[in-house]
């Protein structure tokens, strides 16, 4: 239990540090949202200054950070200038979509990677394993952008999938069943894209972990006892290989989130990615800070989840 509490405390501290760091970084940035207004001859400089002081932009950094931290606690997370509303509600809707996409893609990628990795490790050195290794290395060298663009091209050319967005027009009038179907159809391309770009790394790690487990003496002993192959692989070798894989799950959240930004922009999925790019271009500072914070919350949560899973699965950590 001490272990878990320590992990949670560590995660909290880390998040606090990230918030201070990203806030300071972005406040230190030259220029702000009102710069564009200054160029407009019809807006007087008094108006701009008035707006700046209204939003507290002429106060010192610690004071602003304090205000912002307070508004985070209220759930507002600051104020978006270009949307003229608190950042919080904007973020929640977008974060839900990103989470939906990345979690389904993660699930898909792992469901594919585990059997592939195990199969590859079980046939180590044979042609199946070689083909698997070759195709994962080939996939690794293809830039993510190209994968997404080719998928989009496929959608445009064949018309099998919608080319962007998350729902069709008139979504509100659909029955529950057709609503689900509509979202699922929109899901297909971005989810497949994310799965394809994260799959090779997963397969390689699972394979190497399994190969290591299969070479250990207890597996040889079990094989000598005549335990069937499937049981050997799944009941004996997989749990022994699971430790590094659980840590990998935590790390894979980070890759997934980064890849998700690109896929969201290319396929206009209404997630955090497009919001972030827009916010950077319009200098909407609090939205940027909000998205950065949220993404690191996801990442830290992923790592924490991995820690909890390790705690459950590995008795050595529990005893410690």
């Amino acid at each position: 239990m001490r272990y878990l509490i320590r992990r949670v405390l560590n995660a909290m501290l880390l998040l606090a540090a990230i918030s201070a760091f990203s806030f300071a970084l972005l406040q230190w940035a030259p220029g702000d949202f009102f710069d564009a207004m200054r160029l407009n001859p019809r807006v007087s400089s008094q108006t701009v200054e008035g707006l700046r002081s209204k939003y507290g932009m002429n106060q010192t950094l610690p004071v602003r950070y304090g205000h912002w931290a307070f508004s985070v606690l209220k759930g507002d997370m600051g104020f978006s200038f270009s949307y003229n509303s608190p950042v919080g509600p904007l973020l929640w809707a977008r974060a839900r979509n990103t989470l939906l996409l990345t979690s389904i893609a993660t699930l898909l990628a792992w469901l594919l990677a585990i059997p592939l990795g195990i199969w590859s490790a079980a046939n180590k050195g044979r042609w199946g394993d070689r083909a698997c290794g070759f195709s994962t290395s080939a996939l690794l060298t293809i830039p993510d952008l190209l994968v997404f663009l080719v998928l989009l091209l496929l959608a445009v050319r064949t018309g099998w999938f919608p080319t962007g967005g998350m729902i069709s027009t008139g979504f509100d009038n659909f029955t529950f069943w057709s609503k689900c179907k509509d979202v699922a159809v929109h899901f297909a391309l971005p989810a497949v894209g994310l799965t394809v770009v994260t799959l090779p790394v997963l397969v390689r790690h699972i394979r190497s972990a399994m190969v290591e487990a299969l070479e250990s003496p207890f597996i040889r002993a079990a094989r000598g006892h005549g335990i069937p192959r499937t049981r050997l692989l799944f009941r004996y070798a997989l749990p022994a290989a699971s430790n590094p894989l659980i840590s990998l799950l935590g790390f894979s959240v980070a890759t997934m989130l980064s890849a998700s930004v690109i896929v969201e922009v290319i396929m206009s999925w209404p997630g955090l990615g497009p919001l972030m790019v827009q916010a950077i271009l319009s200098r909407d500072v609090y939205v940027v800070v909000g998205v950065v914070m949220l993404s690191s919350v996801f990442l830290v949560a992923g790592n924490l989840l991995a820690d909890v899973l390790l705690f459950v699965s590995d008795p050595r950590i529990r005893v410690e």
Binding site: L14, W28, I142, L152, L153, V292
Partner: protein
């Protein structure tokens, strides 16, 4: 033995690709900004050896372009206009490696004819030319940024590993901060902190700085690990007992043991950083037109009509694959050879 082949193969491929990009002026048939406004989105020019009457020519030739009768706005080959391909021709002037002016091009066709090896973009600019010149920006960004972040990583990792104690604690906690953010988001955050509208070369420098500064944590961590074990080696302890200073120990005994990790990290980071540049520029946050970079070559694919009608606009992206392949192969071979950290 096999490993050596792999490393050499990767190095030869890398040298070839970098040579092509470095001497872009020589290998590209046109200048980086040369436009042919009359021929937007012309398909890749086919190079022929056999003419319309079935006669074989030793010297390859290309056909001129005419409007396609079936598809408005598209171009088709016109077999009545024949332009032979010449090698080592005089063309537009450029500077060899940015210094010596020259007009010599590896290949080209005579004046009214155009050779679009990878097709042309919306302004009628030859894409192979743009790819080579774009590589100068993108590869330079990747290489310098990788050097920067590995340099930072070496400094931080060596200090943290060599001195330990609170220095180690502070530096590695700082690194954890960088590792705890998804790197693309972190990249965006740092990019957001920098001015949007500045001169092109400034954007280029900013981009390098951003990418390089964001990525130091992972090499730092790896190098710290190597330094930690290296400083316990007997010959290092012996040198210390003979009264060697810290600086001497680091320079002469500890850092040479990290070279393997450093090389592997550079080989891994360069493609990652090239991709970072491509991604940022693709999203409109990197170097912009008219400066060609691999990211801006892909950016036009964001428009649906380009994406769906002109397949050759994908070719520059496909050409990125051999570049990445060469780097990953080199990293892989180095890793096997040096038995350092897992990928």
């Amino acid at each position: 033995m096999k490993n050596r082949h792999k490393l050499w193969g990767a190095l030869v491929l890398l040298a070839g690709l970098h040579g092509l990009v470095l001497f872009a002026g020589f290998f590209a048939p046109y200048g980086s900004a040369a436009q042919e406004r009359e021929l937007p989105f012309a398909p890749p020019t086919r190079i022929h050896f056999v003419d319309a009457r079935g006669k074989f020519h030793v010297r390859p030739f290309v056909y001129g372009l005419k409007d396609d009768a079936r598809i408005p706005g598209a171009f088709a080959a016109d077999s009545t206009q024949v332009y032979p391909v010449h090698f080592f021709v005089q063309g537009s002037s450029y500077k060899i490696a940015g210094m010596f002016p020259s007009r010599l091009h590896f290949f080209g066709v005579s004046a009214p004819g155009r050779i679009f090896l990878l097709g042309s973009d919306g302004y009628g600019r030859e894409q192979f030319t743009r790819f080579l010149y774009g590589g100068q920006i993108s590869l330079a960004a990747g290489l310098i940024a990788a050097a920067l972040s590995v340099l930072l990583g070496v400094i931080v990792g060596a200090l943290a590993g060599f001195y330990g104690g609170w220095i180690d604690e502070v530096l590695m906690r700082g690194g954890e901060l960088f590792l705890a953010l998804p790197w693309l988001y972190l990249l965006f955050a740092v990019r957001a902190a920098l001015p949007l509208h500045v001169a092109e070369w400034q954007v280029f420098l900013l981009l390098i700085a951003v990418i390089g500064l964001v990525g130091w944590a992972r090499p730092a961590r790896l190098i710290r690990g190597v330094v930690l074990s290296a400083k316990e080696r007997n010959f290092v302890v012996a040198a210390r007992a003979f009264g060697a200073s810290d600086a001497y120990l680091l320079r002469r005994h500890v850092l040479p043991q990290t070279y393997g990790v450093i090389l592997t990290q550079v080989a891994l980071l360069v493609p990652q950083y090239v991709l970072a540049e491509v991604t940022l520029t693709f999203l409109g946050l990197g170097v912009g037109e008219p400066m060609p970079s691999w990211g801006s070559l892909l950016a036009s694919l964001q428009q649906y009509y380009v994406l769906s009608s002109y397949w050759w606009m994908f070719l520059p992206a496909a050409l990125l694959i051999p570049v990445f392949l060469a780097y990953y192969m080199a990293a892989d071979a180095l890793q096997e050879r040096l038995k350092t950290v897992p990928l």
